[in-house]
């Protein structure tokens, strides 16, 4: 199975290899946290993870073909 990762904001600067949306091939169903660990990202780094534009927790298991959008934490003005 495979999912697509799309990074937003500062996350793109920290993980330039994932700057453009990346397809990640998985050897079976994985949680969001496990997928992030697999690409070298601390699972607690994104402020929110969207799947199908809906916020999902780190223990969510996406379906094959899903796109995960990883939002960067934001700063106040």
């Amino acid at each position: 199975m495979q999912v697509t990762l799309r990074l937003e904001g500062h996350l793109r600067e920290f993980f330039p290899a994932l700057n453009a949306p990346q397809t990640v091939v998985l050897d079976g169903p994985k949680t969001v946290a496990e997928i992030l660990e697999a690409v070298g990202m601390p699972p607690t780094l994104p402020s929110s993870v969207l799947c199908g534009r809906v916020r999902v927790p780190l223990d969510h298991v996406p379906a094959s073909g899903d796109e995960l959008v990883l939002l960067s934490p934001l700063a106040g003005g």
């Binding site: 402020s47 534009r53 939002l71 934001l74 700063a75 003005g77």
Partner: protein, 612 residues
Amino acid sequence: MIPGYGGNILRVNLTAKSSATTPIPESWKREYLGGRGFIARAFWDEIKPGTDPLGPDNKLLMAPGPYTGQFLSSSGKLHMGALSPATGGYGDSNMGGHVSFELKQAGVDLLILEGIADTPVTVVIDDGKVTYRDASPYWEGTTFDTERRLKEELGEEWQIMVIGPAAVNGVVFACIQHDFGRQAGRTGVGTVMASKKVKAIAVRGTKDVRLFDAKRTLAEGEKMMDQVMKQPGFTAWQPYGTPEVVPWASSQGVMPTRNFQTGVIEGFHNLDGPTMKAKVTEIDKGCTSCAIPCGKWGKGVLNGKEKPQEGPEYESIALLGSNLGITDIQQVAYLNGTCDELGLDSISAGNVVAWSMECFEKGFLSAADLGREMRFGDAEAAAAMFHDIAYGHGFGKILGQGVRAAATRVGLGTERFAMHVKGLEISGYEARYAPAMMLSYMTCDIGGNHSRSWAVTFDVATGRENFEGKAERVIWLQHVRPLFDALGCCRFPWVEAGLDPESYVAFIEPITGMQFTWDDMLKVSERVWNLTRMISYRHIPGFGRSFDSPPPRWVEEGHETGPTAGKHFTPEQAQDLLDRYYKLRGWDVNGIPKAEKLQELGLEFCVAALCK
């Protein structure tokens, strides 16, 4: 003449009730761009060493930027600066809303207020022509009442900036408010405005701003608006605004809680974006040309009493919520509305009241000293203390001089948990085990503020124990983030919606005709950064390395709970961070720019000050 600007410096002398208009120097446009750049450059020329921050020789400076109001998203920022009564050094702050473009359309790129009026006035700027109105009848009025009154008297089309009772009564962290909830909050710019006996500034501008290539500017602006609104971050973030980050901040142990004693607040979900949207927010509110209106207008509630207000945004939630031990978003909104109507900077106000609560709970100050029991979690006590601060009653008068001054006066070791840098109260990030964020606060030119470099995500991404690359990242952010303040626009389309910051280069030629690369723009920011450092060096006796120290709490105590429990860096490690930073900056070991660095940046006029 380089287009894209209002064209003029408007100098208003309040003592003489005179005004004069002179062209903004063309070289300033190339070397400083506008906004924060113009403020810093004018500060050097206009405000001399030895000036009393509240005396006639201090000047209140305000400047839009070349991008202000020019079709690109979120271009409504106005920058302002003065010698800070809170820190004694370079002070600045900025606000959104609509007054910045109005000022630019009035033909003004830099407004200089100097002298002191003999009686309270409202300064009226109508297309660059200055008149005065007697403000005596509403000198003591709240910000909301004053702005509403002037809107009724002058007309809805006028844009108004006002101060509240806190500024009038000499609180050193009083803000300037506009549009019923937008504040230039930091460093006491409102206090300086009050010292000049200016209650309000009303602006109307109807002039065209000539652009180098209006068609291209519009096309680039349309492209940016489209990009912003298609970003996934836009749809996820916009409904909630900055409170969206609350759960993340608490989960990472970086949310200041009970006077920065810890970084995790139990019940943080009661302060997050969805809760605020459900319980407080009634309508979204945005600034000039903004595609991502982050302002949230609604009501705060405390024990059945309601208070209309804008926000609270994250910083206010952190300082008026978790840092006071309060986890009811309606109460936090009520406190935010209280600060806004009184004209208090909610960051500094929350910080000093949290310090007073810790002093009370640890027995350093009694209820008799403070006028009431001050316990964490008690929103009624906090609201009452905000009134005492703003009106100079009881212990509020001491707190109104800032946490550094209050702790110095009380002594007894309370200085060790007075959370400030350079005398400015630290904002909404607990940074004792986040070296890049701690260094950001230590080296921020105005003191304990997050706006120049917000690096805590970098710490989480690259390892919180790791020092490598941290100083480099802080310097990069200190150049990129304030660049927006020079251009006169908001950072949020980059930081929040995810636009590439380098995409802002595309606007400089169509607006001004000037040719800039991204590196050229960063060089302007570096120039301004070194200039503001030299300003504080010139104004503060003994200024240097010791002013870049973190508060003792951050290098002496670990958190009891949370993901970084027990961890903190040592004072020696903090000094190591500074060594790395100064070396990269081209500064000496005392943190002062070297002559060759100043010359490299075109700041030759600062070199003589090194021999003071």
